[in-house]
Amino acid sequence: MKRSGAAFWIGAAAFLAVAFVMTKVIGNQYPFFAGYVILQFIALAVAWSILGGYAGYVNFGTSAFYGVGVYASVFLVKAFGAPLPVQILTAAAIGALMGFALGLLTLRMQGIFFSIATIALTIIIETVVTNWRYVGGAAGIQIQRPPVTAPFDNYVQLLFFIQAVLVVLAVAISRYIQNSWIGRGLQALKDDELAAECSGVPTLRLKLLACVISGALLCAVGAPGAMYLQYADPSSAFNLNYSVSTLAMSLIGGTAHWIGPVIGAIVLSTTQQLLTVTISSEVNVLVLGVMLVLFVVGAPEGIIGLARRIFHRSNEGRE
């Protein structure tokens, strides 16, 4: 356990170092534009899985949290000219509160009713923001980027690196939860809530905790989005595609282990980035739909489930 912990942190440090070195050696801006989106989806998928994967509460409200993150930044920039770290931290705090409220409101609902309620919350918040003139209303709002600070030469590179940090943060938290009593409790309540309660698991409190952590991370990941696009409008910030993509990535990767959403997000968002460039953005929604259906039908445990099965079979073959 100790050794795998060290390996994880060395890997995380190496990942950040590579991300940083990339900003120094790659002159072309495009890889950072595309890379930012991929990193953002990895972080979203990992954050989503804390509630959706470990606890099995399928949250369709990723777009709500993401959009609130974006608009938290928009508001802070417009009102106070707040710097990026303040935007992200504030978004995280709002996301935690939102997660708490969502949890209180919806965690008594079972299965599909919970999912529908989270969709409902998304549309309601989107409608509120659409009617909020100060942040641009339905038409959207332009955002001015501040000058970039050293050691970066370019704001997109800075955002790319920040998103890489958020990925590491999300993965570290998810991994901690998975290996701790929290993860065991969530897994138990996912399997059977009553049996978990009767084994001493405080299911409601654990679910609320998962909601709060997941919500804080989802919002934080959305926060730099405003600066990334230099523009925000409600129908893109709250687009249902974020919810479905995030869900699809987690299911495709597999939700039993923190690495699942990472793999799923890399596979799906890389494919989408390539297709957007080479064909069209419609096709990448098609790919999303087709992959989601294929995996849900054919590989319910996702890629890590497939890998485990293959691994087991080859093990048995050897014996």
Binding site: G111, I116, I119, I123, T127, L247, V283, G289, P300
Partner: protein, 290 residues
């Protein structure tokens, strides 16, 4: 005050229309427990089917809707079979994966429509579209009256079907107690598949209404997820007449908010009502006895 009366009249008509587009879901989700979030996508697909027939052959949209119902019935049979084989049969967390599955299906339908027709709005032509009926100061568009009449007829037909025919009673029975049905010698899976077929077939006509009432675009289904689920959950799962009543409540609420507060708040109404209902009754308003 006149404005309010106006809004109520318009709202009732709009509500009946919402009822018509929700009836299918009231069967598939309300009675069969299938988390059919692709229901609105099928609805929009039906509208495009009606659009093609209307444009190519100049056939009245309602008749076009009737023409595509057999096709949609078959769609429904296939979709349920697929759902059953992959989810219900395997048992565990069918709901969770099922909803993801249907979202995938909805996205695929959306994109296929975009690829075929582009993102522009499409409309149909018929005599009753564009004209309206004046009584005193109120103008009621004929297309809303058509929607109202068809919705009422559909509700009556479905209610009669479910209460008077053998198959209809079997469908109601399967929602309550599969075992009892099996003891009666009927195959519950067949019954459910048939019911899902009916639920989807109804979409043929509902899709015609959708495109009669207003022009249609490929992502319109997203606005109807809230409306249809709101109606079905409010109605009490699986009740046809309840569906019509709930839909009228929604229609009136939306129209009043639109006239009093502004159209930009309308999309939130159905979802807010849905959330309200679910918060009070986590298992749906009149959660079926299990």
């Amino acid at each position: 005050m006149d404005l309010l009366l106006d809004a109520v009249v318009t709202g009732v008509l709009l509500g009946c229309f919402y009822g018509a587009v929700s009836l299918g879901l009231s069967v598939s989700f309300g009675l069969l427990d299938v988390p059919h979030v692709a229901h609105p996508a099928f609805l929009v697909l039906a509208s495009y089917g009606v659009f093609i027939i209307n444009e190519q052959y100049g056939i009245d949209p309602l008749i076009a809707g009737l023409l595509i119902t057999p096709l949609f019935f078959v769609f429904g049979l296939i979709a349920y079979r697929l759902y059953y084989e992959t989810f219900e049969k395997r048992g565990s967390d069918a709901g969770v994966r099922g909803i993801a599955f249907f979202f995938g299906v909805a996205f695929i339908i959306e994109v296929l429509i975009i690829i075929q027709f582009g993102v522009d709005q499409r409309a149909v032509t018929a005599d009753y579209i564009g004209k309206s009926w004046r009584i005193a100061d109120t103008r009621i568009p004929y297309r809303m009256l058509v929607a109202f009449a068809v919705a009422a007829a559909l509700t009556i037909v479905l209610t009669l079907y479910l209460s008077r025919t053998f198959m209809g009673r079997a469908i109601r029975a399967v929602a309550q107690d599969q075992e009892a049905l099996r003891l009666m010698g009927a195959n519950p899976i067949r019954v459910k598949q048939w019911a899902f077929g009916i639920a989807t077939a109804v979409l043929g006509i509902a899709g015609a209404l959708l495109i009669i009432v207003a022009p249609v675009d490929p992502t319109l289904d997203r606005a109807y997820i809230g409306r249809t689920f709101c109606v079905v959950v409010m109605a009490g799962l699986g009740s046809m007449s309840g569906t019509l009543v709930a839909a009228i409540i929604l229609g009136v609420a939306e129209t009043i908010v639109t006239t009093m507060v502004g159209a930009s708040w309308a999309p939130a109404i159905s979802f807010a009502m849905l959330l309200g209902v679910l918060a009070v009754r986590p298992q749906g308003l009149f959660g079926r006895r299990s």
